[in-house]
Symmetry: C2
Subunit: 372 residues, 2 copies
């Protein structure tokens, strides 16, 4: 996190920008009314067929196809009314330096004076906040919308400073935390990296494997920052991973189970998700590398496996069609997996003994990849 000449942090600058953008959006609606135009909001179409690779930023972003929300029907007018109420709430929330969850926003709408502005379900309010992110080009976090899910824990040689509501906290992510590690806050842009001795960042899917690496002292022996993804990673987890890569210039490795759902976890760290391609530049780490479990490992290490289910096969086939997975590496691995019809979990490495992963599997793989 950098500090500008007025002593404001990135997080503070982003919030100001968010507020300005919201006010501007309201002003646009006002102008449309004023000029006798039908008010409208134009957004990129959010489907797999409308994501394109952006060569500059190395991430997948929305293409040129757009769709409009206009007030030329009762339904459309209601949508824009809800948008205006939400903009008003968010601007006030930023003014008061408060925050809320998406679910709270949904419920809070029940207290709004116009019944037409109240959301009929949470999908509707979630979608609207995403729309507002896209049109205002800031993130939900900048609106002070908190996620429901909590983010990752960190363990490794990193000293950081977190700006909390109760003052600053300086925390070393090995020396000042228990075995559970440092719990990152909902908005990791409140964190500043002060000092570190990290050689690479390892994002780990399961708690069992995270604990194995920590118990075996892998973070200490290899100067590794262990990030626990907790399954499909929360936005906060992806954000801090990206910042660790960009600001500290560190290699990012992703270590998951060997099945299609885990490849999606890797995909969401590396490429971003289709649903939030507008956030790829904020959340995605395109340089992230996949360390395993690879279908090839299942064969080479003769790991215990489960057969692929029908939904596994479908997911793999859908990944073959996914632009984000169209690389030689992924095509080869996915085709091999469809061929052998098996999947394996990262903890299956324990079939070779509890130290196999830290003594052999990871060091060998990391040397092969040029990280060690």
């Amino acid at each position: 996190m950098s500090t500008d000449s007025n002593g404001e942090t990135d997080a503070q600058l982003n919030e100001e920008r968010a507020r300005e953008q919201l006010v501007e959006l309201a002003a646009e609606f006002y102008d449309q009314f004023d000029q006798g135009d039908v008010p409208r909001m134009t957004l990129p179409t959010r489907t797999k067929s409308n994501i394109v690779f952006d060569e500059d930023s190395d991430v997948w972003v929305y293409g040129d196809r757009t769709s409009s929300r206009t007030a030329n029907s009762v339904r459309g007018a209601r949508k824009l009314l809800k948008a205006i109420y939400t903009v008003d709430f968010l601007a006030q929330q930023l003014e008061e330096d408060r925050s809320s969850t998406l679910r709270e926003l949904y419920y809070l709408s029940e207290s709004w004076d116009s019944e037409d502005a109240q959301f009929s379900d949470q999908d509707e309010s979630n979608q609207l906040v995403e729309d507002l992110e896209i049109v205002s080009e800031v993130t939900r976090e900048d609106f002070h919308m908190r996620p429901e899910e909590s983010g990752a824990t960190l363990m490794g040689p990193l000293l950081l400073r977190e700006q909390t509501r109760r003052g600053e906290r300086e925390i070393h992510c090995q020396e000042d935390v228990g075995e559970g590690g440092y719990q990152i806050p909902n908005n990791p842009d409140t964190i500043e990296f002060l000092d570190h001795d990290i050689d690479f960042v390892m994002c780990v899917e399961t708690g069992g494997m995270r604990d194995r690496l920590v118990e075996n002292g892998f973070d200490d022996d290899y100067n590794c920052l262990v990030v626990h993804l907790k399954g499909q990673p929360a936005r906060a987890t992806r954000r801090i991973t990206k910042r660790l890569h960009d600001e500290l210039d560190l290699p990012v490795l992703v270590f998951t189970d060997g099945d299609p759902w885990s490849y999606r976890i890797f995909g969401s760290v590396a490429y971003g998700s289709i649903k939030s391609a507008h956030l790829s530049e904020y959340l995605a780490t395109p340089e992230a590398q996949y360390v395993g479990i690879r279908p090839q490992d299942i064969v080479e290490y003769d790991l215990p496996t489960d057969p692929l289910s029908d939904s596994d096969v479908n997911a793999l086939e859908s990944e073959l069609d996914d632009p984000r997975f169209q690389t030689d590496f992924w095509e080869e691995q996915i085709e091999l997996q469809l061929d052998i019809g098996k999947k394996s979990e990262q903890q299956a490495l324990a079939s070779r003994g509890l130290d196999f992963v830290t003594d052999t599997y990871l060091p060998d793989r990391l040397k092969e990849m040029g990280v060690l």
Copy 2:
């Protein structure tokens, strides 16, 4: 956590006891063989009909009905063989001061020299570890078996000392942590409570509500320790809650959504689960009180609701039959809920504004309950 005259902590004493118990179990099998008896393990039957209320400890424990695992069939003999290999592994794990997850144990069995001793699925190894807990009268944590799921975070006026593999850590759960709070370790018996300013412990189901209480400074204003349950609480979370109650003599309150699944969350904090009634004395906090959301709140505060689904109705009806819910309070609330046919989430309180929960709902309820 107390320390005995030899300077050993409870956790260390428990581990020694676990090791002794395992060796004793192996010795028993040996004696049975030696005397020409068919080896056997006798266990309480683990069904809803065999849990009884223990007046002394105030928790639900197994009744008198037992079932036996004997080696008088090939299947039974294989079960005992697996038990012996597992006992051997666990004893060695304790000897080396290492730990592992249930899933690792399952996979590790593939490396055992006898193919008959290998587990055919993880249910089998999980069940065996539970059996060993019951016959040896120690807990999985004392065997150094780690859970897959990570435990709670704490936020509040508590100073603790955690014994980690890398030395002792003294952490204040407001001053030394970020907004994410203190992440408790897998085995909270490595924690010693040093000092505190807590008036009551509040276990909160959802992350959204946990963050609301922390943002609104509820922990600070009311000297409250906020424990985030993260849905159905992990064993570590239930254990630390019990220890906070027993050792610091603090009221424990449980704040969840208003639906049958959330009442089960309360039940697992207060009464323990049927599957692990043998652990009730270790994990359950029978004095825990339910603060809401109550079906009555749905009516009184006119909260936004969802209709009960068929599975909700079935779960409520099953709770009416559950000995743990046979109190006037629960019968009244569950019957009211079946009557109105509605459920409500804790974040639905946001329909009265974001501060309603901390300014009105909780203070009123806690006064009514005599906690404030």
